[in-house]
């Protein structure tokens, strides 16, 4: 299962990519595979505040609804509008085309509290 080494990961199966001062956020390959065919993504709006470990949106597959938990706190500065019309991108390109939001972290980024690719991989293989 693909896990970009340079990303950080949350226990709720989000990935975080550092881009200058901002953080780009999406869900992992493992998460999309557990969900199955994604048909709907509900995301916040630019300007909304997100808080670490709190829901910032949700993603729905044919079968189920899954809340998205913010891996960090901050302000939403970009939202991937393409997911509105093409939610299937979450299945097809979870680390690239299906990024969900870009957050400008408030204060300390919280990145240090997240897992490395290796740590995340260890966590999901324990779950299985």
């Amino acid at each position: 299962m693909e896990l970009p080494k340079e990303f950080r990961y949350s226990k709720e199966h989000e990935w975080v990519k550092e881009e200058g001062d901002n953080l780009r956020i999406g869900i992992t390959e493992f998460a999309q595979s557990e969900l199955g065919d994604v048909v709907f993504a509900e995301l916040p709006e630019v300007g909304d505040e997100v808080e670490v470990d709190e829901p910032f949106g949700s993603v729905e597959s044919v079968k189920t609804v899954s809340e998205l938990y913010a891996p960090v706190s901050g302000k939403v500065v970009e939202v991937n509008d393409e997911l509105e019309d093409s939610p299937e991108l979450v299945n097809e390109s979870p680390y690239d085309k299906a990024w969900m939001i870009v957050v400008e972290p408030s204060g300390k980024s919280g990145l240090d509290d997240l897992m490395s690719a290796d740590e995340y991989e260890a966590m999901i293989s324990e779950d299985e």
Binding site: G36, D37, V39, F40, E42, E60, S61, V62, K63
Partner: protein
């Protein structure tokens, strides 16, 4: 973790890379390749399902017909050899014990096919009402059950048997059928839970793997797919077929669920719930099952509450998803009768937001 039961096909699921879930105590495949792909295969070609988790109960003896007529809502007297019937068992208050199919095997010999999660409860219910001259046995462990569904199902299955499948009409069956690897011991009926043409096959558990493999091989050129419970649910949902615990339950009567055709209120035999159900059928019900289509963006899900424009609670969603065939966000909901007219605007509460929807006709899909 409780030991989950496995069907004879479990090893095949693993081999095919299925994702499995616990369903009614059984470890069952939820999907093989993906719900949308499996769903489309059944609508356009054919799908193969393992439904061996379903319960089978044998009822026989000189009083079997009279007994069943005193516990089932449909009229067992209408059955004859080779015929099956969709029916219910109800509580005295009209709530539903289970929905099931009864097969007439021989005079005073029947096979009841019940929901996996309800099997023990059903058996207890039957035993509690048992009369003399009736033998009731749980024969679930003996039977495996496969379903082959879709426009190509008959052609594929016909290539595996000498039994003339075209002679088996809807809700009829042929017992003593031979298929590849199953020597005269299968029962095949033209029934299903997908809204497509197709068959369900009951056979000795020991032959299930052979028939499963034969169906996949014979169906390959037609595009057959093994199908999990995920697509089984979306297929039955589009076809407006009820799922026990959602559209039917101990709190929802068959009349409320729009299944009055399976209740005979004029038959002579008395059965639990008859008085209540008769009244509901004759004078109407205060709430009933209706189809809803979301107008705002959002997907209705089981248990979501439904409101009118003044914010008064008028019911709840029993099932909902994005229909793979229609691409619309649809739901089935039990709502107050006065809100069930076509195009009536209602509101579904989705994550604390009131989203607009309208009442539409069911079934959502008809072949």
């Amino acid at each position: 973790m409780d030991q989950q039961k496995k069907t004879p096909l479990y090893e095949e699921f693993v081999r095919l890379g299925a994702k499995t879930i616990n369903f009614g105590g059984w470890q069952m495949p939820v999907q093989f390749t993906g719900i949308k792909k499996e769903h489309a295969a059944v609508r356009e070609a054919a799908g193969l399902f393992d439904v061996s988790h379903m319960g089978e109960i044998s009822v026989k003896g000189e009083k079997a017909t009279a007994f069943l007529n005193s516990v089932l809502t449909n009229d067992v007297e209408k059955l004859s050899e080779g015929r099956a019937q969709y029916t219910m068992m109800c509580y005295e208050n009209g709530g539903t014990v289970d929905d099931l199919i009864v097969y007439y095997l021989n005079k005073n010999e029947y096979l009841l096919v019940v929901n996996a999660a309800n099997k023990d409860k059903d058996l207890e219910w039957l035993l509690a009402h048992q009369t003399g001259g009736v033998e009731i046995d749980d024969v679930s462990a003996f039977y495996a059950q496969l379903a082959i569904q879709g426009p190509k199902a008959e052609e594929i299955l016909q290539s595996l048997t000498d039994t003339q499948l075209q002679d088996i009409k809807f809700f009829r069956f042929h017992a003593g059928t031979s298929f590849a690897g199953v020597d005269g011991k299968a029962l095949v009926s033209r029934t299903g839970y997908t809204g497509e043409d197709g068959f369900e096959i009951y056979l000795p558990a020991s032959s299930a793997v052979d028939l499963w493999k034969a169906c996949l091989e014979a169906g390959e050129e037609y595009g057959i797919q093994p199908v999990g419970l995920g697509a089984r649910d979306t297929l039955r949902f589009e076809a407006g077929l009820p799922l026990y615990s959602q559209e039917l339950s101990e709190n929802i009567t068959p009349v409320e669920a729009g299944l009055g055709f399976a209740l005979k209120i004029d038959k002579e035999a008395n059965y639990p719930g008859k008085a209540v159900l008769k009244k509901q059928k004759q004078s109407g019900v205060g709430r009933k099952l209706a189809g809803i289509e979301m107008l705002d963006k959002g997907i209705p899900r089981t248990g979501y509450e439904v409101y009118d424009e003044d914010g008064e609670n008028i019911g709840f969603v029993t099932s909902g998803t994005q229909s793979p065939t229609l691409g619309k966000n649809l739901g089935l909901a039990i709502v107050k009768k006065e809100y069930t007219d076509l195009d009536q605007i209602v509101y579904v509460e989705v994550r604390k937001k009131m989203l607009k929807a309208k009442i539409i006709n069911t079934p959502f899909y008809k072949r």
